[in-house]
């Protein structure tokens, strides 16, 4: 594969980048999907090397900053292709790009090629104790962070994290993994997306070396959350596509009742439902990613992915329930995407809040 060399919104260039993402997903990630699901560190290192080789590790950064200058809309389309290979790695790509794009210039300049960072979004409601910003307990002048964030996907093994959406309104804070007072420890895994292993991020009086981004912290948090939502939707579409492909292939080859099971109405209906859902979930968000549209897109895409992956396991029958086929992994990935970056329930509440009344 050649590295990402083209950027911009022109359709030919976009197609080329998307084709590259497709190749990365199919050739490099898909064969490692089960190992990645089992959190095999060698498989993860190899996968990330491949991601970095083609430039998707810092796709959103401007060329001048060592990136490839991809716009967010194009990255989202690429994530779908990468996710059709392995959803957890696609999530790592999203988190790393979102984090690096939010780094202050001086900190960004200090990062090395192929470093993996993770954007950690503070939860929208108090389900986990959010880290707070306050004066340093040691009496210093600079503000300090204390508290914990969990589960922080992709943070485990990352070179650093960027915390966004802090309720204090101080905006976005970047911390290298070795920052004093910062602890990143494994926590209860999610059902899926296991290559983006979650961590419990503990902050004990962490002095903030760089001042938070200037301007409106809440707006910066919303913007990063919108990107995560758009990415979640795209990854869900990739998962659904892969599940549909696998189900179709299996249905064409598995014989029951003397005929391929695709000839049984019970199976045909499930396969048709997958096509309908795929057509109904919008594939592209364009370059603008914000507001309720992206939230609705995420809800539709993740619901479709879960329904499709669940039916795909059903098409496989008992075989689908077994780890080695890789189809039950897609169901777990899909369910995790419905819960991240926030549960669908909260998405519905947010949309309802905007309807007035």
């Amino acid at each position: 594969m050649s590295a990402v060399a083209v950027t911009g919104e022109g359709s030919a260039e976009r197609h080329e980048v998307i084709a590259l993402a497709h190749e990365l997903g199919r050739r490099e990630l898909l064969p490692r999907a089960l190992e990645l699901d089992e959190r095999n560190p060698e498989a993860l290192d190899a996968a990330w090397r491949q991601v970095a080789e083609v430039g998707f590790d810092r796709a959103l950064l401007p060329v001048a900053d060592g990136g490839v200058g991809l716009d967010a809309g194009s990255l989202v389309l690429c994530l779908e292709e990468i996710a059709a290979g392995e959803a957890g790695v696609a999530l790592l790509v999203l988190l790393s790009n979102a984090a690096l794009a939010a780094l202050p210039p001086e900190q960004l300049a200090a990062t090395e090629e192929s470093e993996r960072w993770a954007l950690v979004q503070a939860p929208p409601e108090g389900l986990a104790t959010p880290a707070g910003v306050g004066p340093s307990a040691n009496g210093g002048d600079r503000p300090a962070l204390s508290g914990f964030l969990s589960p922080a996907l992709g943070a485990l093994g990352a070179n650093g994290i960027v915390i966004a959406g802090l309720s204090s309104g101080s905006g976005v804070v970047a911390l290298g993994a070795t920052t004093s007072g910062l602890q990143i420890e494994p926590c209860e895994p999610l059902l899926g997306l296991r290559s983006a292993a979650p961590a419990r991020v503990s902050l004990t009086d962490v002095a903030i070396e760089q001042p938070p981004h200037g301007g409106d912290g809440r707006a910066a948090g919303e913007a990063s959350l919108a990107l995560l939502r758009a990415g979640s939707a795209a990854i869900a579409r990739g998962v659904a596509r892969r599940a549909q492909e696998m189900a179709l292939e299996y249905a064409e080859n598995r014989i029951q009742g003397g005929v391929p099971i695709i000839q049984h109405d019970a199976v045909r209906e499930m396969l048709a439902g997958m096509s309908v859902r795929q057509a109904a979930a919008p594939p592209s968000l364009g370059a603008e990613i914000d507001g309720n549209a992206v939230l609705a897109t995420r809800l539709a895409a993740t619901e479709a992915a879960l329904a499709t992956a669940t039916d795909a396991v059903q098409v496989f029958g008992g075989t689908g329930y077994m780890h080695e086929t890789g189809i039950e992994k897609l169901m777990r990935d899909a369910k995790s995407l419905q819960l991240w970056p926030e549960p669908s329930r909260i998405g519905y509440e947010r949309i309802a809040e905007t309807l007035g009344g």
């Binding site: 939860p123 108090g126 389900l127 986990a128 104790t129 969990s150 589960p151 926590c187 209860e188 999610l190 059902l191 419990r200 014989i255 029951q256 009742g257 003397g258 005929v259 049984h264 019970a266 199976v267 879960l306 669940t310 396991v313 059903q314 029958g317 008992g318 075989t319 689908g320 329930y321 077994m322 780890h323 080695e324 039950e328 169901m331 777990r332 369910k335 419905q338 819960l339 991240w340 926030e342 549960p343 669908s344 329930r345 909260i346 519905y348 509440e349």
Partner: protein
């Protein structure tokens, strides 16, 4: 006086209001059922709930891990012998008790519960065979009571035939590769069975294979196989998505000799017997699914009420509506499995299980059945021909087909409810850092299997159509006379 609030773990009278009416006719029945439910609940709370996640993690790392200690504890508390006939020292329980017990165990841990459920499934073909295998069943009961369990399993599915072997029409065109070949003094079993719950840990297996692979439906036959027989081996244990505590094994039969006396029923009776076994096993699967849904609902409610991180959520109407929907689904799934179980035990098989002949044979001490001469007599053609006559007099295909329809309905609905409720519970809890997330995630993984095993939900719904909508009558009962040729093949 205001009625008490609904409990997440209701008493039998709360869960099944109709039992109050039944009680007026048979007070003892409901009392016995209640005591069985409480024993199962106590066992589940003391031994399953706390170990569930640990065993799940261990089996994720090593699918061969098996918690024998827990099975021994369960055996001592009656979880392995309650389905064995009273005549051999078992509890003499049937589908209703099995379903009630499974709901209780599965609300704690469906994987561990499945060990006991799969054991019951292994026993069930023998229950249709009168006293013929009371010697083995007696050994199994005694072993359980000593706390040295001999587990059982039922081996039906094959690598290329899953749904096919659970439907008589599909079976005719199935890619069945197993074969029970007639040899002097018995049968030689060859082939592979797949996804067999308890398969790798069972001492005795009820195994279904055709005697003539060219005519699988007509010659589908059940054998009782000792796992210590030469030629039997466990190829591997599957790495499952959920319900991991109970291993699903691939079993290889390489010329496994089964003597004539371990033939279950007659050659060719297997297809009909499979229908009856499914009618008996699907209500408990509906109960397993109900238990999973209840387990998720209980845990979610506990978290919402007690965890400071969930503060305020329970006051939200959107959350209240989700909880109400869960309660609604659980209660309806529960009614469906009880309808099916009562219909099978009372309407379909009531007369057969209460048959005076079986009752009087039960007066003979079980050790007598282990004597070689008595065993030979029990497995004689005369006895094997007599049992179908008893069954045909005691019940009919129409009633059994109806039972199968109700059972399939309970299983399919229950499976969907388990998925819907665990999905919704995770939606409410989200990615909380609290331990409840791991428990709900496990139940969600466990739930999916309920839509697949004992026939996919799609197959079950086809059977609902045939039995309850089209009002078909399926041939489940063995013919009173079955002719076989010199090689033992049905003609």
């Amino acid at each position: 006086m205001a009625a008490a609030a609904w409990s997440t773990a209701p008493s039998l009278r709360e869960a099944f209001p109709r039992l109050r009416q039944l009680e007026q006719h048979d007070r003892g029945y409901v009392r016995r059922l209640e005591s069985r439910q409480l024993a199962a609940r106590r066992f589940a709370d003391l031994h399953l709930r706390e170990t569930a996640l640990d065993v799940d993690r261990r089996t994720d790392d090593d699918p061969s891990y098996f918690d024998w200690e827990l099975v021994r504890t369960g055996a001592r508390q009656g979880m392995l012998d309650f389905l064995l006939p009273a005549q051999v020292g078992g509890g003499g329980c049937l589908t209703v008790e099995c379903a009630v017990v499974m709901e209780e165990l599965c609300a704690a841990c469906p994987g561990l519960a499945l060990i006991f459920g799969a054991h019951g499934l292994g026993i069930s073909p023998l229950l249709l065979d009168g006293p013929i295998h009371w010697d083995v069943m007696g050994e199994v009961a005694e072993a359980a009571q000593r706390g040295e369990p001999m587990l059982m399993a039922c081996a039906l599915t094959e690598p290329d035939a899953g749904t096919d072997v659970e439907d008589v029409d599909l079976m005719a065109r199935a890619r069945i590769t197993s074969h029970a070949r007639r040899v002097p003094g018995g049968y030689s079993l060859s082939g592979t069975k797949r996804f067999i719950s308890n398969g790798g840990v069972a001492r005795w297996l009820t195994v279904l294979m055709p005697v003539d692979p060219r005519r699988p439906t007509e010659t589908w036959t059940c054998f009782l196989v000792d796992a210590q027989t030469k030629g039997f081996s466990v190829a591997r244990n599957e790495h499952k998505m959920g319900q991991r505590a109970c291993p699903a094994s691939e079993l290889v039969f390489d010329e496994v000799f089964v003597p004539d006396e371990r033939l279950v029923a007659r050659v060719g009776d297997g297809a009909g017997a499979t229908l009856i076994v499914l009618a008996a096993s699907r209500p408990p699967v509906g109960a397993i699914a109900t238990g999973i849904a209840r387990g998720a609902y209980e845990r979610l409610l506990g978290w919402l009420r007690n965890d400071p991180d969930a503060k305020g959520l329970l006051e939200r109407q959107a959350v209240q509506l989700r909880l109400a929907r869960m309660a609604e689904q659980i209660q309806l799934a529960r009614q469906a499995y009880m309808d099916a179980a009562v219909h099978l035990d009372v309407a379909a098989l009531g007369n057969a299980t209460a048959h005076p002949l079986l009752r009087s044979l039960g007066l003979i001490p079980n050790r007598i059945y282990r004597r070689p001469r008595v065993r030979r007599m029990m497995s004689s053609t005369l006895t094997r021909e007599m049992l179908p006559r008893v069954l045909n007099r005691a019940t009919d295909n129409k009633t059994i087909t109806r039972s199968l329809g109700l059972s399939s309905l309970a299983k399919a609905r229950g499976g969907d409810v388990a998925m819907e409720v665990t999905n919704a519970a995770l939606e409410v809890a989200g990615l909380t850092d609290a331990p409840v997330r791991a428990e709900l995630q496990k139940l969600w993984r466990d739930a999916k299997l309920c839509q697949i095993y004992e026939g996919t939900n799609q197959l079950n719904r086809i059977e609902v159509y045939r039995a309850l909508v089209a009002n078909e009558t399926m041939s489940a009962l063995p013919p009173t006379k079955r002719r076989v040729d010199a090689t033992g093949v049905a003609v």
